[in-house]
Symmetry: C2
Subunit: 450 residues, 2 copies
């Protein structure tokens, strides 16, 4: 079955996940769908109920106050005028969305392609001293704007980086430069970074308190770096708004987010396929898969359900890239254990194309390439991989964008966020916390203080 | 238990995989080890027997003819003198090793860090037209050397790129430029690319016929791009040679490759943990995990065992990065299903370090960072994550390099190659073929020709 949203330009094709196509071991039947239909409807009602109550922040982001959007655009324009480099200090949800949107919509070699007029972008999402030092090698300090992003202000990695660059700027350029060159994106009223920003008089942007890190790409967290690098953030939000329309549809089979959540849920819990591979056949979506990895893993990987039962649920997200990983992972996906469900991401029309010239056409193994386009080759490879898997009973589905644009990327981000909210209901777990990382934080603190 | 090779500077620590530490559900007992001891000894004997027969090429690579090493160095020096850019046209085993070695040993922003004197490196490992076009945007064609790498010469992705750049050079710079600017790395005597190279008079380097793509990083496949970017390839091979000494040891508990293979095998087949996460806490090893992904997935993911039984075996490799993915995957690894075994990669001494300056020390959540180094922070995070997982019965092990150097990277690459050869024996499958990708190739061909 297929589901197409013409407003978003996004198609979901579940044909290769159906029992009629791939057999009963891996394929979904009408009975499977019917067995979760009620649960899915309840899940949708539950999410829409929370929307009505106004307590789930990400649902409001498509309708972000235009004044805030304007404020972000003005700040971005100011940064663009005054700086050659823009550095995001953030990790996890304060980095992955920024990187995903940037990769999808800007030049693959954005930071050094001739003719790029916007500030270079570095997203410093680790505390490896070699890596931080390398970023420092790249920066003309007086021409660099730093965007420190953490809602609480207690993220050790991000705040360490902030302390480092703060001191560096003060030492080399003076205290006023620090105030000018650092923008803080944080909770509007509470938390450590908010206090620091207020005390120091830094420019700030808000992260809504009811939006968790992994759902924050469409807040100022993701929008400022996007705007600084020339992406139309109004289009991103417009795409999310259009997808939100789709996500409001109560009928499961008409709602792409619910349908995708249901299929993933059946694959994990009925078809016993605990691994969810996301495999774009679009180089520019490679980091999108990393963004989704966090969204799925942190939201659904949980020990307790909402009734306090120990359940240890969670699909494991796996990133792959077509056609590249045909030469790395497909052997395993074809012949290994039947424990995966693969989602291909494709695009109907690449933003550019090239033709393979004819040469050595007397060699049969090369002649079939002559005068074909690269887009035909990669499309053929994507379809061939999907079909070969289906022929071997390996379930997969394909999400195809008409084109890669700020609008379609906004829609795609929102599709998966809504899907994960639904998945939380299906698994009956809290999709919006992450209690499992606390122990590591406590142990880190102990090791740093004794 | 721990295993340290002082010659290689590599330690394997299996403490957090032992039942005594983490309990019986996820932990290995003496009985578990004894149950595979005989099999492991037989596996080692089998690999050493093939070594004696001289038919398994990767085992000979640490002892590569110094004349060939000199030839590669001379060619690299010539390229360095004459070109500003070096482009690898290759995919899978003809790209992943190149990228892994480059990331591990060169500057993280090698291609545009001020002061880098070696040619820039691009590894073109996909056929996405947007991506190829983007690489073209970057290249001053007349100053670019192309290294086309495919043993057979029938890899569609690589040969398409070759045809594209061949025509581009001929059209813009003439036929002689094409002959000068393209180096072919391929089978020494047979195959399509060998024939083309001979007919055209291209410069060539050999890929030994008995070395498969995913084991080829220490052949000319990986060595030329390494040498061009300034890496000491003799040190890489020396590291592999030192590790080979360790791998010859017949006693399982003294042999790091056998021991690692045994632990992974027990985790998959006895402890029922089919996912193998590799999580470096060293930013520069992030692409090493991708290289290992191919090695493990293609080698061990198999439908048939060597007796023709349908077995559908294969551990699924998963890449993560510390500390970054603490904010993405650790929630799932801590609380989700008990289906993973995690290998941390660490380093004792980072090549550089930085101190976190003291500021806002009245804020308790920040004061613990003051005047600590970033290496202490990331070390603390790595240990904390490993301990927290162990405290929750989640098995993991840690491989620690004394330092990141060409020697230690050579040793690490070889460690995993030998380990996978042993794993093939333990699973009783052919670790050196990839029959599962044929169907996709045939379907691609059909879609390209009708």
């Amino acid at each position: 079955m297929k589901l197409y949203s013409s407003s978003c330009g996004i198609e979901l094709d579940f044909s290769n996940a159906c029992a009629g196509r791939i057999g009963y071991a891996g394929g979904i039947t009408e009975d499977d769908l019917n067995s979760v239909r009620q649960k899915a409807q309840a899940a949708h009602s539950a999410v829409e109920k929370v929307r009505a109550e106004g307590t789930l922040g990400f649902l409001k982001l498509p309708y972000t106050d235009p004044k805030l959007v304007q404020e972000i655009k003005h700040l971005a324009a100011d940064i663009e005028r005054n700086y050659s480099d823009f550095v995001v200090l953030g990790i996890g949800g304060s980095a992955l969305g920024n990187i995903a949107v940037h990769s999808a919509l800007n030049h693959p070699f954005y930071n050094n392609v001739p003719g790029e007029s916007h500030p270079r972008l570095f997203v410093l999402d680790n505390v490896d001293p070699e890596y931080i030092s390398a970023v420092m090698d790249m920066l003309p300090l007086e021409k660099t704007c730093f965007n420190v992003i953490t809602k609480s202000g207690t993220t050790a990695e991000t705040m360490s980086q902030f302390l480092l660059f703060r001191q560096l700027i003060i030492d080399r350029l003076g205290y006023d430069a620090f105030k000018k060159q650092v923008v803080a994106t944080t909770d509007p009223s509470s938390g450590v970074l908010r206090k620091i920003a207020n005390d120091e008089g830094l420019r700030t942007l808000p992260i809504p308190p009811d939006v968790g890190g992994r759902f924050s790409v469409l807040t100022a967290v993701g929008l400022l770096s996007a705007a600084v690098t020339g992406i139309n953030i109004s289009d991103l939000l417009e795409g999310a708004r259009l997808m939100d329309e789709e996500c409001r549809k109560p009928e499961m089979t008409e709602n792409p987010a619910v349908m995708n959540a249901v299929v993933q849920y059946i694959m994990d819990t009925i078809k016993m396929r605990p691994m969810a591979v996301m495999m774009p056949y679009v180089q520019s979506l490679r980091d999108f898969a990393d963004w989704f990895r966090q969204l799925l893993a942190e939201s659904i990987g949980k020990k307790f359900d909402r009734d306090g039962n120990v359940v240890h649920v969670g699909t494991t997200p796996i990133k792959a890239l077509g056609a590249t990983d045909q030469h790395s992972q497909i052997q395993l996906y074809m012949e290994g254990p039947e424990d995966k469900f693969i989602t291909f991401l494709g695009v109907k029309k690449y933003r550019t194309d090239l033709t393979i010239p004819a040469a050595y056409t007397e060699i049969e193994k090369l002649s079939f390439l002559a005068n074909k386009t690269f887009s035909r080759l990669i499309h053929a490879e994507q379809q061939a991989t999907s079909e070969a898997l289906a022929n071997n009973g390996r379930p997969n589905c394909t999400i195809t964008l008409d084109e890669i644009s700020a609008k379609s990327i906004g829609a795609l981000l929102y599709l998966f966020e809504y899907q994960i909210a639904i998945a939380g209901e299906l698994y009956n777990i809290n999709a919006f916390d992450q209690p499992g990382v606390e122990e590591g934080k406590i142990l880190t603190y102990q090791k740093m203080t004794c």
